[in-house]
Symmetry: C2
Subunit: 331 residues, 2 copies
């Protein structure tokens, strides 16, 4: 692959996160499955927000967080996603551009407001999310800018976008544009419930041309309907793609054809909030691949970035990942 | 004083904070005096925000933070201040009510948006603020609800509000209402530049009927135009009010008539961000007074609350202050 203007372009939901401390009783009362993401309508969002504790707002969105991580690692990243031209949309655009991610998707000027993700963090550091997609559902094929896709080494797709029919068409267009320009396509399954909802579409997209697949244990088991992680792992072997399978504190397993790497997790002094751990894992892995690092070295860098996210409240890196990773001998 | 439905009602600017890491060169380039608060217009706010790093949004406002601290200590608090009915206004109203502070001031429905304070935190933990007041300037005498003032043991006034002529009238009304119902009036000078701007009005208000005065070293020196802290301290002696004079890591000095207490600061393991330290100092002191604690014990509780704010990013308490203070033997 020749040097390109962009290392990675991410496509995903443009969301502002609202984080608040919570407990299990609250999740049960609101019917939210702990550790997962539930899509909610405007009225439900209002109801949950009214009952939540005082929060902190910060820009989020899974693929957007990943792109911020790539930029923090010194990579060249772009993001495609939809906000409205309201206050939270302004916050989202400011924050992603402030760290050097290219973001040019025009905001909508009418209809629902910028997407919000209500994140309830339980004392064990786990996060449970309720997302009101708002303006993010307006993202369509027209927003998949061919010049951006063709200038990137990797096009990274967020599985959550599969919850919107118009986004599925946008994804297929992105895959085709990437391959036409000899770029690679990466996909994250995002959430096991999301996989349950769109299993056939995910399998079809993977066959259609995914080069790098990100999934955690629950997601890969949901995709192949296996009982154990090992069964899902065997299902990935011998295929013409790279699978990066994450297992929280058990580290990650990388599969490429018959090649398998089992990589330890980076130790975390104190688990504060796991929000963003998967997102920043993807940052490290994609950045490593784009910069020609080996699979194992990329997975170690990925785990290092995930650990940074776990050590603080919020999904985006607080430190300069490039410096931190260099200091730790990761790059 | 008989038991009242409210311990404290605060009157101040209803603001959403935008916090971002920064450095001294940035402050110099933007013409901002380190450690102080500068009032800015809409266009300047846009320019500074565009140049700032990625941020975190959380509800703020000095007196509002203080009321949140009182509620976190288990006190009964209310707040009067003005937001617009926009997204940031919704965030402000949610957060202050979520911790149990009564907030009923009707939002404006037209004109400028909810106030924003751009807070640049330098590596030494100092915060420099640029505030766009927006809808907060609409606060007027009509918003000083007599029933709320008369039901509170203390009415707490934020000096920053002096930057708006209509708010000065509102302050005088609040002082008169409080005294008519045998309530006490507390005032914070807020900022030395604010004192420079409105020195005569502050002196007149203090004479008109302030029972508890909060000021840091720079503010009290600005008020009495003295060269040293000790000269200002002597100017406070023999007066018919309580002065709580804060000195950062040197603790605080309480003056009441001829009575003087010098109270050590609570040790802070690591200074993360001093935003909110003064605000939460006032929470602890007012809560202590309202609950009949001695001056010295109230000052120690105040210092304890300030230390909690300094240990994390953001102005409002992250823990339950009532539990933390009880655990530390402060209450």
């Amino acid at each position: 692959m020749t040097e390109r203007p962009l290392d990675v372009v991410g496509i995903g939901n443009a969301i502002v996160d609202v984080l608040a401390q919570s407990d299990e009783a609250f999740l049960a009362a609101k019917g939210l499955a702990k550790g997962s993401m539930t899509l909610i309508e405007s009225e439900v969002a209002d109801r949950i927000y009214a009952a939540m504790g005082a929060g902190v707002e910060c820009s989020g969105g899974s693929a957007a967080n990943t792109m911020v991580g790539v930029a923090s690692l010194g990579g060249r990243a772009a993001f495609l996603g939809k906000v409205k031209n309201d206050q939270l949309g302004e916050v989202f655009m400011h924050d992603i551009r402030a760290v050097g991610v290219e973001f040019t998707t025009p905001p909508t000027t009418r209809g629902a407001g910028t997407a919000r993700c209500l994140i309830m963090v339980t004392p064990d550091g786990q996060r449970t999310m309720a997302t009101y997609l708002g303006a993010a559902v307006e993202f369509s094929e027209a927003d998949v800018v061919s010049g951006t896709i063709s200038s990137a080494a990797y096009t990274y797709l967020e599985g959550y976008l599969f919850d919107k029919p118009s986004a599925k068409a946008a994804f297929r267009k992105a895959v085709d544009l990437a391959h036409e320009s000899d770029g690679k396509v990466a996909l994250t399954l995002s959430d096991s419930f999301c996989v349950d909802r769109h299993r056939d579409d995910f399998l079809a997209l993977i066959d259609h041309g995914v080069d790098v697949l990100f999934a955690n244990e629950a997601e890969i088991k949901a995709l192949y309907r296996t009982r154990t992680f090992d069964e899902a792992l065997q299902a990935m072997r011998g295929r013409n793609l790279i699978a990066a399978l994450t297992r929280s504190e058990a580290g990650s397993v990388i599969v490429k054809g018959e090649d398998i790497h089992v990589v330890e997790a980076t130790k975390v002094a104190r688990v504060v909030d796991t929000t963003g751990a998967g997102d920043l894992y993807a940052s490290g892995f994609l950045h490593g691949l784009a910069r020609g690092m080996t699979l194992a070295a990329s997975a170690r860098l990925a785990g290092f970035c995930a650990a940074e996210a776990i050590g603080h409240f919020g999904a985006r890196p607080q430190g300069n990942l490039a410096k931190l990773a260099a200091g730790a001998g990761m790059t």
